[in-house]
Amino acid sequence: MYFQVQFVASVSAEEFTLLSSCFPRSCTFYLVLCINLFLFFLLAQESWVGVLYFQIHFVLLVSRQGKVRLTKWYSPYTQKERSKVIRELSGVILNRGPKLCNFIEWRGYKVVYKRYASLYFCMCIDEADNELEVLEIIHHYVEILDRYFGSVCELDLIFNFHKAYYILDELLIAGELQESSKKTVARIISAQDQLVEAAKEEASSISNIIAQATK
């Protein structure tokens, strides 16, 4: 903490206003009130550190009809909050026109979304993060899914949502991008799948039997 104060104190007032543009406005307001200059810097630094931890708070896949296809929460949310978040966000996102921004400001966060066919991929990030980058992370994920499933469609994700989770876990960890190489992700996923291969064959033969029987 001591150091942080030093750091902020070293930037001039003008730069501070510039930096402050990175904080959520509300914080800044609260801060500006503080007359005590030292306290001012101290508090400012606190919120500044908080905001600087760029990370993805959650990933959400919703269908055109508002049905949830995949959710991954990197920040703690209760089940109740989760349903509220999903309801609120899908209400906003599904109703946005096609030509508008792929970002929405929401409760002091930003939600970046992109539509692929009938699926909306959404990621919630901090307000000061780079939206375009997150948009590309979404696309990166979709490309990996696509490579894995072979022209992926919504149905793949519905029935193999656990696989989508595995892939997501290889891409993002604790809300940060851990691997940006498609090949590496593909390699580790296929290594995992090889172990499963035998079981998978068995499964498909069973389902074939079922299919035969019901025919």
Partner: protein, 945 residues
């Protein structure tokens, strides 16, 4: 036909290999897909929960079955239902030796549990074991769980293993170990502080993926402690240079950009490191310049890097050349058709405007366009930009715009934010007092309960104090205009509570001040307020206090007071109120009405809200009385501390102290606050005293003395505070002193409360430009708007702002419906998402029965087959060169995305079915009730022959 349909479905499922799941699971997913309403879905899920509860309790569930149950639980949980009954089974599954099952177990627990869940303790042991496993896949699965589930207390349990894994042979494990450490650092920095050097070392890892992952924790570390990482600037610059020169393996390329995610991360770190550091900034000029040249602004990822460069430049000490580059990039963004890029452009402009304020001028019209864009996100960003460039010359236009927008939206969170921005700007740049009050009225009227209470106190203070100039005339005018505007507004229905408090207070203080309005008129209005908002005790309290002030002023000026009948009934009602506060106010008012003019004048002097109240903590005015009491045999006061100090000395004192202790237990917090260590003269005499005269005597004389002194000045009542605590005894009993002590407190309440910053006194009084009249011709209007916004923007404004504003916290109160005085600007309708009965969009084909349209569709499918190549052609011509070269991937992907990627136009073309595989899947989607967006009938052709 019905039969055929079912057979078709079974067939489709069979041919898909059943996705590796059992029929029950497929049925579950299918039935949920087919459910048409939320209620139906809930019913299905609830019955599924019942089934699973039963099945999980069965003895000897085969492991494969159990795995599927767990996945079904995950599915249920994902749909927002509680699956906690099965958590323990997921935990058990992590113990399994089979990797497949273990992995499922870990997946389920990471989704079910968070780090504070009780079951975590059962997993830690397994994780520890798995981290030591020989199979790197097991280790990876365990590390994934570590990143999600380990909390502060359990970090030490796994930390040694995680640290060991930093040198694991597999890069995937090293990477995850770093991310785990990163997460530990965030959870509890102290637990890993000794390991920080590991991050530095891992920056040189042979695997670029590990290096990339290391940037995440380094970013955090650097943002906390810039100075100790300054030495890394050159390394980061070097890495970035190598990345841009494509030294990394090809597999890190993304849309022809070399490792863009790593580049962005590096830029973020460099912005931190060289913020305000000239020498560090110098090192970066080269590579930043290179980036501007190399970045392909036709791809999204290229723009992402450009944007990051702009951000970086806004943080470092830039060279003129770089500023030029950045400005050019911004103007490209702003000129783009894509809303995303415009958004980024506005954001970048907001950042650069701090450095060189003339940048905005060339983009005036683009900014205005964005301000009038139907896209809410873009509009908000533009308001943020305007907020940043506000100065006294354009404050009126900007604040007017903001308020118009504020009125038009329903989003409480943003409303709060924009309201507080308006207040801040108005406080800092207000050209005139009247304007300020008007703006505040508007803000309170439309966002009242969302505004921080300090703003209200500031406003009251401003009205009471004026703008600090010694010009009573102007102050009076200000007050009069405030009173007039409030009298107009007060009769409107449903005003926010906070606003009513302000109105009541101002009317009470200044309503009758200049004689324009009669006391009965004002008091009638105040009674109306108390009546209309009878459920709001705060407002009522303010109203009663205001009434009291008005009557007090009347009495003091010697006029006869006629209490209105409604006021009388109000008082009577409040005398019996459940709220002690209201009751007390009512009693005070009643008591005040019975007093004579002199007494009233000293209780509530006219316009005394700004007078400083000096609290005489020593109660020196009582010295004479005390002296008298001591002389007549009373015991001198001994402070609590001295009493406890002298506890062992005398027995009779001890008994008194004992009594003190018991009385302690009865006291409430509030009485404890002022410490009894106030130096007091009597306490100098340390002789302990027996009790008798201690309780019975004091308060009677106090009240007489205070009522005597009341006639001298109003300040005295506050001194009673001191009396209370001096004798260390709640003085509830003396109702006379209580009732006489509170009125001035109420009257002066605002000035004591409003401890926020002072109100800015920008005195440049420009006439308010009649902005409303500009509406008609768009273009002309835009020009003028631009002129009023940007004109004379050379004078940097923001830095000389006073840091005074009302703070606020996001509140989630109920917003009052904005009175639609302006055309609503793109309100977002929020339909009930989960109501599936109604199709949500135009492209929703769910309603049409595919079989009915079979004939026609089969026709169109053939045409579609041909047409699909056209779609692909479109992609490749539309998209720029890099996309074209990656078509091998994209062609698959375009199947998925109906919006063309690479370019930003989200074209509305429905996707063209062009591969058999996709067709089959699509058909299955339809069968499952998933409702894809496009028509895809080929499957039926297959089915029906």
């Amino acid at each position: 036909m019905e039969q055929l349909k079912t057979i078709g479905r079974e067939l489709a499922m069979g041919s898909q290999g059943g996705f590796g799941q059992s029929k029950e699971f497929l049925d579950l997913v299918k039935s949920i897909g087919e459910s048409r309403s939320k209620a139906e879905e809930d019913r299905i899920v609830l019955s599924e929960i019942d089934i699973l509860k039963r099945k999980l309790l069965e003895p000897d569930v085969p492991k494969r079955k159990m795995k599927e149950y767990i996945i079904r639980l995950v599915y249920i949980e994902m749909l927002g239902h509680d699956a906690s009954f099965g958590y323990i089974h997921a935990v058990k599954m992590t113990h399994d030796d089979n990797l497949l099952l273990k992995r499922t177990g870990y997946l389920a627990v990471t989704l079910f549990l968070d780090e504070d869940h009780d079951l975590i303790i059962l997993i830690v042991n397994t994780i520890q074991k798995d981290l030591r496993s020989d199979n790197y896949l097991v280790v990876c699965a365990a590390l994934n769980a570590v990143c999600r589930l380990i909390n502060e207390e359990t970090i030490p349990a796994v930390l040694p293993q995680v640290v060991d894994l930093l040198n694991h042979g597999k890069e995937a494990v090293r990477k995850k170990a770093i991310m785990a450490l990163h997460r530990f650092h965030r959870k509890s920095p102290s637990s890993v502080s000794h390991l920080v050097s590991n991050f530095r070392r891992k920056l040189c890892d042979s695997d670029p993926g590990v290096m990339g992952a290391t940037l995440c924790p380094l970013f955090d570390l650097i943002s906390e402690d810039v100075a100790s990482y300054k030495d890394l600037v050159s390394s980061f610059v070097g890495i970035l240079k190598q990345v841009t020169e494509r030294k990394l393996p090809k597999s890190y390329d993304y849309h022809q950009m070399p490792a863009p995610f790593i580049q962005i991360k590096l830029l973020k770190i460099m912005a931190l490191l060289s913020s305000g550091d000239k020498s560090a900034s110098d090192m970066m000029y080269m590579v930043l310049g290179d980036l501007f040249r190399k970045c392909d602004s036709s791809t999204n990822i290229g723009n992402a890097i450009l944007y990051e460069c702009i951000r970086c430049i806004s943080c470092i000490i830039p060279s003129p050349k770089l500023l030029e580059d950045a400005a050019e990039a911004i103007s490209k963004f702003l000129k783009s058709d894509s809303h995303n890029l415009k958004y980024m452009g506005i954001d970048g402009l907001g950042r650069l405007i701090k450095i060189s304020s003339d940048i905005a001028e060339q983009h005036q019209l683009a900014v205005i366009d964005c301000l009038e864009d139907p896209d809410d996100t873009l509009k908000r960003k533009t308001f943020e930009l305007l907020y940043k460039m506000t100065k006294s010359s354009n404050v009126e236009v900007i604040v007017d715009r903001m308020i118009d927008y504020m009125i038009s939206i329903n989003d409480n969170h943003y409303k709060t934010e924009i309201a507080s921005r308006c207040v801040e700007l108005a406080e800092q740049f207000a050209p005139s007092n009247q304007w300020f009050i008007q703006i505040m009225n508007k803000v309170f009227e439309h966002a009242g309960d969302l505004v921080n209470i300090k703003v209200a106190h500031n406003l009251m203070r401003l009205i009471a104090e004026g703008f600090g100039e010694d010009d009573d005339d102007a102050d009076n005018k200000l007050r009069l205009s405030a009173v007039e505007s409030y009298l107009q507004i007060i009769s409107e229905p449903k005003l926010p509570s906070l606003f009513l408090q302000v109105i009541s207070w101002v009317l009470g203080e200044y309503g009758t001040a200049d004689g324009k309005y009669s006391a009965s008129y004002i008091s009638g209005k105040l009674c109306d307020v108390a009546d209309a908002y009878s459920s709001d005790e705060t407002v009522k309290g303010y109203a009663v206090s205001a009434l009291m002030k008005i009557y007090a002023f009347e009495i003091a000026s010697g006029r006869k007071v006629d209490v209105l009948p409604e006021c009388q009934s109000l008082i009577e009602e409040l005398l019996a109120s459940h709220s002690t506060d209201l009751q007390q106010r009512a009693y005070e008012l009643q008591a005040l009405l019975a007093l004579d003019a002199r007494a009233v004048e000293s209780i509530l002097p006219l316009d005394a809200s700004c007078e400083d109240i000096e609290v005489d903590k020593d109660l020196s005015f009582l010295n004479g009385y005390i002296q008298q009491a001591i002389e007549s045999g009373a015991q001198p006061y001994v402070s609590e501390r001295e009493r406890s100090g002298g506890m062992f000395e005398t027995t009779d004192y001890h008994s008194q102290d004992h009594h003190e202790v018991t009385s302690h237990a009865l006291r409430f917090e509030a009485y404890e606050l002022p410490k009894p260590s106030v130096p007091s003269q009597p306490s100098a005499a340390l002789v302990p005293v027996p009790e008798p005269s201690y309780y019975s005597e004091p308060h009677q004389p106090i009240s007489t003395s205070s009522s005597v002194s009341e006639r001298e000045s109003s300040e005295i009542k506050l001194r009673l505070d001191g009396v209370k605590q001096k004798w260390g005894r709640p003085s509830y009993q003396s109702s006379t002193s209580a009732s006489s002590s509170t009125p001035p407190q109420a009257a002066n309440g605002t000035s004591t409360h409003s401890d926020g910053g002072g109100v800015a006194s920008s005195s440049s009084s420009k006439p308010r430009s009649s902005y409303e009249s500009k509406k008609p011709e768009i273009d002309h209007e835009k020009q003028r708007l631009a002129a009023s916004l940007f004109g004379g923007s050379s004078s940097s404004s923001r830095s000389d702002r006073k840091s005074s504003s009302g703070g606020h916290k996001p509140a989630k109160g109920t917003a009052n419906k904005p009175l639609a005085t302006v055309p609503k600007e793109s309100p977002i309708p929020v339909p009930d998402l989960l109501d599936f009965d109604e199709p949500t969009g135009t492209s929703d084909v769910a309603a049409t029965d595919p079989f009915k349209e079979l004939e026609g569709l089969m026709e169109s499918s053939r045409q579609d087959g041909g047409g699909s190549t056209d779609v692909m052609g479109l992609y490749s011509t539309d998209a720029s060169a890099p996309v074209k070269t990656t078509t091998s991937v994209d062609s698959l992907l375009s199947e998925l995305s109906d919006s063309s990627r690479g370019t930003y136009h989200q074209s509305q073309t429905t996707k063209g079915p062009n591969s058999k595989e996709a067709l089959e899947k699509d058909a299955l989607v339809r069968q499952m009730g998933v409702n894809p967006t496009s028509q895809n009938p080929t499957l039926f052709k297959d089915l029906l022959g």
